[in-house]
Symmetry: C2
Subunit: 338 residues, 2 copies
């Protein structure tokens, strides 16, 4: 692993420094070659940096700023008033080459808008997209995009998402010739919106892409496709529905607080269902935190607004991995291939 | 309960008579005031009617026909060639007043198209919709529409879905002033498609409807809203995603076939988690089979194409309930109120 600096918007999301700073320290501990620039209110940041190991402290730089972008601000309002906010300054650090990637848990629309302005889409990319990994019930992972950056999409947009997703899956999931599916409401070619059927026609014509057809919502977790392509609205609905189902089900299988005499049975069950329980836990969105904005000239990772310490640390590690892999460069090179 | 006759398309879906006929017999057993007219190939139907109680047999009428509508046919193709198909004949029986409702597991698009032509939308309804119940993790139920009948929707369409869904929930869930939520990708008023934000404005102005705001995919199972309103594409994606998640999770908790010595632990677990397991099972789509086409002059229930005997019997019972409750008449009356 080579040395790497990431810029962190530590004020974003519902969470702020009490989550982002402990997460930063965890990420630094796990990755000795990583340095972080923290953009945010130093008064709020400092209390969390007391009594930490020197080895971590010397890889942290604080860039004090007090302005932030609110989660509820509309994109255009937020962009106009973005000067000197923690999010904009973090992205500017990447723009000026001071950092090699950015992580924020802030307003997704603003992050997307600012990233497009400051970091620019890759040459040839019409619409950068929000991509994330989702678990499969067999213990593997799939890649899904777009998850909310582009509500209205054309067939050509979906086709480009497929290219970007395929390259992302090749590197992130270590696959060759990943299987690409289009999210739709049926597997027959007569089903769904016209732009999805047109995208299917485009993908079928490509020999470089491994397009396998439409995939319905009930098979998202089944690993039928390595890359699931959809418009941002449907993708966001599907992903959040999955997350909600997983969280609800996991909540039903928490350790009983009452019935002490039954605790041995609970632990027996845990043992018996160890593998299954691990699989179930893997569907937990915390383990899948960190959606990436791809199609930009640099790495930008969007953390869940409600991330916990582990989840935000995971998003930082994800950004570091992508920056070291030079994913933006690989996507740019891949655009010519397809 | 009063006497009631339903028309069944027993050839539809991936399933055919080997599922639909045993399901019909189960429905007749459970509902002594119900009669059924079975539309389909009598040669395929008859073997399943041997040795059945006379009390059931005399409430069955077979209308022989050999033509069917294929699941993969496009809607306009299917409609043009629908003459004398089991689906069309079943709907014509309702049109002519021979039956008071129809159940089919066949091609959803064709069923919708034929229903609109033969049974007509209610006066004032621009778009009939596909509605179903979904479980909540707390053991209650919510109503969700549209689930695939209308891929492209306007704000006015969503507003009418809200009215129909509200009346449906009043009767089907026995509620007063049901809470209505709009499915969206955020709870802020700046989020999502314009037509959804416009629908929110319309709903906010209505004092007769209990509109509570946007609801995201991760809260679908949480009973935050009694009626969840969405366009048909998003609704179908969300519902199938829920179903897939539920089926996958339930499959992880099946009884172990190996490890006989651990079976007592398994049963102990079942006992310990009895309530939770029951709740989990309740998310099983089999228990929620039967989406209804509402906004028509008569009751039409669409069963899952992959329904099992219990699930198809549930769809029949659902149609009987709605026909006895005179739901179409209640929706028509409700349109004036809102």
């Amino acid at each position: 692993m080579n040395r790497l600096t990431l810029a962190l918007d530590v004020m974003g999301g519902d969470i702020g420094p009490r989550i982002t700073i402990p997460a930063s320290l965890l990420a630094l501990e796990n990755d000795p070659m990583l340095s972080l620039i923290l953009f945010g209110d130093s008064q709020q940041i400092s209390p969390f940096l007391e009594n930490i190991p020197k080895a971590s402290l010397e890889r942290i730089q604080i860039h004090h700023c007090t302005r932030t972008i609110d989660n509820n601000q509309g994109v255009s309002y937020a962009l106009r008033r973005s000067k000197n906010t923690s999010m904009r300054l973090a992205l500017e650090a990447v723009q000026h080459g001071v950092a090699q990637g950015c992580v924020s848990a802030g307003n997704t629309g603003a992050l997307m808008g600012l990233s497009k302005i400051l970091l620019q889409p890759l040459k040839g990319i019409a619409r950068p997209a929000l991509v994330s990994m989702i678990p499969t019930i067999g213990g593997e992972k799939s890649v899904m995009l777009d998850l909310g950056a582009n509500l209205e999409c054309s067939a050509e947009n979906l086709y480009q998402f497929a290219i970007m997703g395929s390259i992302f899956a090749e590197h992130r999931l270590n696959l060759v010739y990943p299987r690409i599916g289009l999210l739709n409401i049926g597997v027959e070619e007569i089903k769904g919106h016209q732009f999805i059927r047109d995208a299917a026609n485009l993908l079928e014509k490509s020999t470089a892409l491994n397009y396998i057809g439409f995939i319905e919502g009930d098979l998202l977790l089944n690993g039928k496709a390595d890359v699931i392509v959809c418009d941002g609205f449907s993708g966001n609905i599907a992903l959040k529905t999955l997350e909600g189902a997983a969280k609800n089900v996991l909540s039903l299988f928490k350790e009983p607080s009452k019935h002490y005499c039954l605790k041995p049975v609970f632990w027996g069950m845990r043992y018996l269902f160890k593998t299954n329980y691990q699989r179930l836990k893997r569907i937990n969105p915390d383990e899948y935190n960190g959606a990436s904005l791809i199609g930009l000239t640099a790495v930008v990772v969007k953390s869940h607004g409600s991330a916990n310490v582990n989840a935000f640390a995971h998003a930082i590690a994800d950004a570091a991995f992508q920056a070291r892999q030079k994913l933006p460069e690989k996507i740019l090179a891949g655009l010519d291939r397809y």
